[in-house]
Symmetry: C2
Subunit: 402 residues, 2 copies
């Protein structure tokens, strides 16, 4: 009996209805995808060009997203609804990851060599800072369509400065530093297609990284070429950029420097700023009002990140090779190291939960993530990961200077 026979048309209809059913159900959001996004995070897996989407409680892998290119030194910012992660790759790729579906929502190759980005205070503009060809590019956070370019090319030399230390400021402004030119620029993106730039020249030789304070008032740049730091008080731009902490920096440093500290790691908590010393086995403690040095805390190796718990009560420090298997915990009231942990080999990054009940550590060389309970200082969970580096939680979506 052939199905071609007319009265089997209903059977074919039934078959197509059932297959349509399957398709629709496959595309339909299951209860597991209907979730809050306040407790999620992204983990960079640099070797495989993938990112993990994770939940913080319980600590768990939700999805692995592939095809993000070269993720060495990658960084992440989040959409204001905490649904999307914008991943800035070293190869100039800007990828938009949907944390709810675990899929790539968009990707553009926006430069040849890039080192991070930021998102505007209203969440509408994503900005990338570039090494090659230099400069800064603005994109629509919704579509990733290009909005504007800010060139750092010197009209005389024809050379375009590498851009470092890009940070968002209130009012859709961005601050960043020009490595070759030795300048700090503040761009006002009120009109995102025509950003207005204010230049601060002669801030010091070779700024190599920068950060904004958590209220977006201060912008600081570290100087590779000399001692001290360049400070801009955006509440008083008329006073320009001044030099602080002359005792700090690389200029006079005779020790070999295995890895430059990450300024984003600086803990500007309460009345203190904790700075990983360059080359020295010390964490510097400065007064966050006067920027005078208050004390120095001896530590196990050359610090890379010095990060305060959200409470500011303790500061966690990781180290450059050959001490990168170790994390130390500084008690702030006593300024003493109170715990030395060996969470794994190649500890590259640390990320606290929003209210600090736990901290996640990435152990690149043991291919794992280690979750530490900040109350007991014990490891509570270990998760597998492929050469993990940066860890970024969605609480960043509502914070400045991230």
């Amino acid at each position: 009996m052939k199905l071609g026979h007319p009265y089997f048309a209903p059977l074919r209809l039934l078959a197509s209805a059932v297959s349509m059913l399957a398709v629709l159900l496959a595309g339909c959001a299951t209860p597991s995808t209907l979730r809050g996004t306040g407790d999620l995070g992204v983990v960079i897996e640099r070797a495989s060009g993938t990112v993990q989407v994770v939940t913080q409680q319980p600590p768990r892998l939700l999805a692995r997203v592939e095809g993000l290119g070269d993720l060495s030194h990658a960084s992440v910012v989040f959409s204001r609804d905490a649904r999307y992660a914008f991943v800035f790759g070293r190869d100039g790729g800007l990828s938009k990851v949907d944390l709810l579906t675990g899929r790539l929502a968009g990707r553009v190759l926006q430069a040849g060599n890039s080192i991070g980005g930021a998102i505007s205070s209203d969440g509408r503009i994503v900005v990338a800072q570039n090494y090659e060809p230099g400069g800064v590019r603005l994109f629509d956070a919704e579509t990733l369509a290009p909005l504007a370019d800010i060139s750092t090319r010197d009209p005389v030399s024809g050379l375009a400065s590498k851009v470092v230390g890009l940070a968002d400021l209130p009012g859709n402004r961005f601050a960043f530093s020009l490595f070759e030119a030795g300048e700090i620029w503040v761009a006002d993106a009120t009109d995102p297609r025509h950003p207005v730039v204010t230049r601060y020249a002669g801030v010091g030789r070779n700024p190599y990284d920068g950060l904004a304070s958590s209220d977006g008032r201060y912008y600081l740049a570290g100087l590779y070429g000399e001692d001290g730091l360049a400070l801009l008080d955006t509440w008083h731009p008329e006073t320009g950029v001044r030099r602080i902490l002359d005792g700090y920096g690389h200029g006079e440093e005779k020790l070999p420097v295995y890895k430059m500290p990450h300024l984003r790691g600086w803990a500007m908590a309460g009345e203190y700023a904790f700075l990983p010393a360059i080359g020295r086995h010390e964490v510097l403690v400065a007064d966050s009002r006067t920027w005078q040095e208050r004390t120095r805390v001896p530590v196990y190796g050359q610090p890379v990140f010095a990060m305060a718990e959200p409470s500011g009560r303790r500061v966690w420090v990781n180290f450059a090779f050959p001490h990168n298997d170790t994390v130390q915990v500084i008690d702030v009231p006593t300024m003493q190291v109170v715990r030395t942990l060996k969470p794994g080999r190649g500890i590259l990054h640390m990320e606290f939960t929003g209210r600090g009940d736990a901290v996640w550590l990435s152990s690149r060389d043991d291919d794992r993530l280690v979750v530490v309970d900040t109350r007991t200082l014990e490891m509570s969970t270990v998760l597998p990961a492929r050469n993990p580096s940066g860890i970024f939680f969605t609480w960043r979506a509502a914070r400045m200077g991230m």
Copy 2:
């Protein structure tokens, strides 16, 4: 021809397949419910016992949830995943609202008369403070099952103090004040079924409200019965509770007080703390390290809330009757009022977006919400609401002292 005829079975199968399809699709989450929760909020509609679920960008009503009882003086905290809002009603009702489905996920009547609550730093414990029968109650954030009660009943007098100023501290601790007893208690809920309480007695007469600093270090209680404030530095509990700002408070006040200020409104931003004066047409400015008074800013009426933008750059003030149709904006560097707004009648509350691009105002007597652009200080959106009071955005899920 009757459909009972055997070879029409496929038709009936088709019909049932199609109806099954409809049922399954109806039950399946639509794209509109698959959303990030980082940009949502809850608005209390006190008269109708309802809450609005809103999006911040664009400003829009998502859902209205009913059946929450008496919502006068209601307050809200959020689950750590920012999916659920815990609403504390004046009638002792504790309601759990699902922001994604717009439905009540749970509700318990936990006391006779209540005035707010908090959530633990790990997000697992929801705590309510009660007027009647006094004391504090702990609940499982997942199920709302009761975990423990902390009684404030005096063994001698047999009277149970009203509890005010409940605030979460790091490490699953909570601080709160006892109105009749004049004490501050800190409860450690590491074991949520057996919280351990530390008592600080004799802190002053009739503490009427309290707050924790945003890092959870300091706890302050306002005193109805005398001048000054009670301060506990939780980093140095051995020093006990001390009195600060003796010039502040109700004790010596001869002016009529139309409405006691809300301490939760205090702006502890950067190096300053902005305090609405009691009775006086002033905002007091104190040093956030020394707690010495720095200056006073004259304002339009008796301030109720003084709230800083996330940048700390400006402080917004609303007022008690008869000046509650007005909001003033203080520029922090100059300590001057730079704008006076008339957003509507009966301005009860203000809430900033996480990075401060906008502030929402509730106009109870004009039945509307007014969104103001903090860059232009112009009203950008007006939304209808039924006698709105408190506005709470989900960025609170990742902050302390909320």
